[in-house]
Symmetry: C2
Subunit: 420 residues, 2 copies
């Protein structure tokens, strides 16, 4: 097999460990210099391929690449851009082939969630459908933890750890204040469809640390009376209560909780998220003073407290993608296979891209307590290993040292640009 | 001098290191067992004294007390309760004396901010004005960093570190997404009157890490046109921008930015903070997609990433309070005295409670850049040492191990209760 170049891109919402996957891909590619020539990274994901904006990763030192393992977000830029079907927008695929040919790209590594694995799957069909053979491997990534087949998704474990820790810390805070001030603390977390991140808030309490935590899952239609009764019960028992609310919580009619019908001076729909709505509801009906937080990007960018398990898996899956490609595999995505919960053991498996694309995995019913506001022991057994271990970055002047790459583009070889 | 008991209480909003001060007080008191008998902690601050709800800290093991150094929030409960003047509510002071007499309390340690040092100051006058001599020492605490005389306040350095790190991390995130999605990220931080915490967001960028950050200080009346022009300039230069907004930012007429005039279904004023208002303003006028976060309690409870400098100072000031008391000093508060910026050197000083009470220190003008949106090198030189070092807690199952004390109350000796 003659040596060919490779293309790697980051796609969709970024995480605190997607760069650890990039590190795995790049280091593995460098180790396979007999098979893989230059590894190009797409500037802003797949857009980099369409626009022929290819970053030459060889311009980055081994130290800079190693530092990616400790740097959050997408070092090459990500994008929210989904390729249409081959039949719908053939021009895009023709352009991809044109760029790939010009730069002799024979390997395609695409690092993203469900939509992105769909893109990877379409690219893997270029050989069969358009006569341009290319080895195409997906690398899983999503804080939402909603990819099928793989036991978990890189990015999720670190968000889960951040939310579990933050919920524990804020619960200690409100416990201190409850006698004369705040009695209910509300934290809003990501997860528009699946409640995996909200579930992680439940880890804040455990056999050693007794805290009253009420979780609002997007999987459970919101029942105001039941929710308020639950909060009131906790406040009466503990003196305070923490509420972890998923941004995706909705009323039985499907309307998101955060759609309050409020308008600002410009006539725009209200600005707030679910947390302020829940907090105000508690105040109105129970009279308890509240505080609320919206974690937003802080949760998925919190590399400073990333899960060691998550970082290791992110790196291993990136490396596995290259190893699979070099071994002649195609149209697959490496996965995490759980061998046991305790002690936690995992290995790398593989899943066909055709089976990964466009499938979202919700929380199983047996992971949510019967009352709908907590996590079960089975859920805890699943989640706990994913937040295990601390993978601290190095610090300089009190701040984590995160690398900013040079991101030098290679000269374009094509005369024409491409409008996306 | 005969041996007498001591009373310690936590007051006002808690921090991630106020328990480190408690640890310093308790360990020092145990080391002075020849002078100080039992150290009682007030359950929920000064209320514990008024209600005769005294926690016997001797019931806690040395390990549990040592663990306080790594545990956020107020382990004995805090309160928002300010004693009135002696002339206004003599009954409260008479009650304090009654409780202190009943339990032979001769030392009073009060851990809090400006209002609390005012309370400590009033208690210190009990001897002179009401014939009950008591040694009274304040222990500084406030995330707002607004106490006079002391170079900094325990609690602030850790919040500053958290905000600097979070702003850096979220800026990396938005940089990744900016090409096709979010271009402006807004984080709301605490600080209703002084912009110290907002200023810490400016540390996210430094000579190694180039990030576009716009800060909105409560010290600078909000100028919408100037602000929008600044954000637009940053987005045009970098492709994205992060905004750190203090909750206390207000219009020139003094009205807080967060007062949008919105009403919910119950007719209550709007729910949101300053961040969503700023984010929506950017969208309306510049058309940039945004994300926003409100850190709220997460910032002041984030013991997992506390500043080592802050933890050390919190502990040292707690210990110094006891050492001062044992040395016969009275009506003072130990302070941090900065000897040099770089290398950072500090010692413990002292300030009379009369000069600490009820004085708020704002950011000096020379700490804010001329355009009003950034921090100057002088500000950086002041802030940097305060966030230096990481004081990590120990972890168990992926979560920090924070201690929950037994908090056993000693039997009441007085027949009557007290309504507060």
């Amino acid at each position: 097999m003659s040596k060919r170049n490779a293309f790697y891109a980051q796609s969709g919402g970024v995480t605190s460990v997607i760069n650890a996957s990039a590190c795995g891909v790049i280091e593995a590619a460098r180790n396979h210099a007999d098979t893989i020539g230059t590894l190009y990274a797409g500037r802003s994901g797949i857009l980099g391929a369409l626009r022929e904006e290819l970053i030459d990763t060889n311009q980055e030192s081994a130290e800079a690449i190693a530092a990616l393992k400790y740097t959050p977000a997408g070092a090459f830029g990500s994008c929210r851009y989904k390729l249409k079907g081959l039949d719908e927008n053939k021009a895009e695929y023709e352009r991809l082939i044109e760029v790939f040919k010009a730069h002799d790209i024979g390997y395609f590594f695409y690092n993203g969630g469900g939509d992105s694995q769909d893109t990877a799957h379409k690219v893997s069909q270029l050989g069969e459908k358009m006569g341009y053979p290319i080895t195409c491997i997906g690398v899983p990534k999503t804080v939402d933890n909603d990819l099928p087949i793989t036991d978990t998704c890189p990015g999720f474990g670190s968000v889960a750890k951040y939310i579990a820790i933050s919920t524990r810390e804020a619960s200690f805070d409100v416990a201190s204040m409850a006698e004369t001030s705040t009695k209910v603390f509300v934290i809003e977390v990501m997860g528009r469809h699946a409640g995996w991140i909200a579930a992680a808030g439940g880890l804040a309490a455990d056999e050693e640390t007794d805290l009253p935590i009420v979780i609002l899952f997007p999987e459970i239609p919101f029942d105001q009376a039941k929710f308020l009764a639950k909060v009131d019960e906790k406040v009466k028992e503990y003196g305070y209560c923490s509420v972890v609310v998923s941004e995706g919580v909705h009323h039985p009619d499907g309307k998101f909780l955060s759609e309050t019908g409020q308008r600002d001076a410009f006539g725009h729909a209200q600005l707030g998220g679910a947390a302020p709505v829940i907090a105000q509801m508690v105040k109105d009906h129970l009279g308890y003073k509240y505080h609320w937080a919206v974690a937003d990007y802080l949760q998925r960018a919190a590399r400073h407290i990333a899960s060691e398990t998550d970082v290791e898996q992110a790196y291993a899956l990136g490396k596995a993608a290259v190893d699979f490609a070099v071994a002649g595999k195609n149209a697959i995505m490496p996965t995490v296979v759980r061998e046991s919960d305790s002690p936690y053991r995992w290995t790398i498996g593989e899943a066909p891209l055709s089976e990964v694309a466009n499938r979202e995995i919700m929380m199983p019913k047996e992971y949510i307590t019967d009352d709908g506001f907590g996590i079960t022991p089975a859920c805890r057994a699943y989640l706990s290993p994913l937040i295990a271990g601390e993978s601290y970055p190095t610090y300089h002047n009190g701040l984590p040292r995160y690398v900013q790459l040079k991101n030098e583009l290679v000269p374009k070889k094509l005369k024409d640009g491409f409008e996306v």
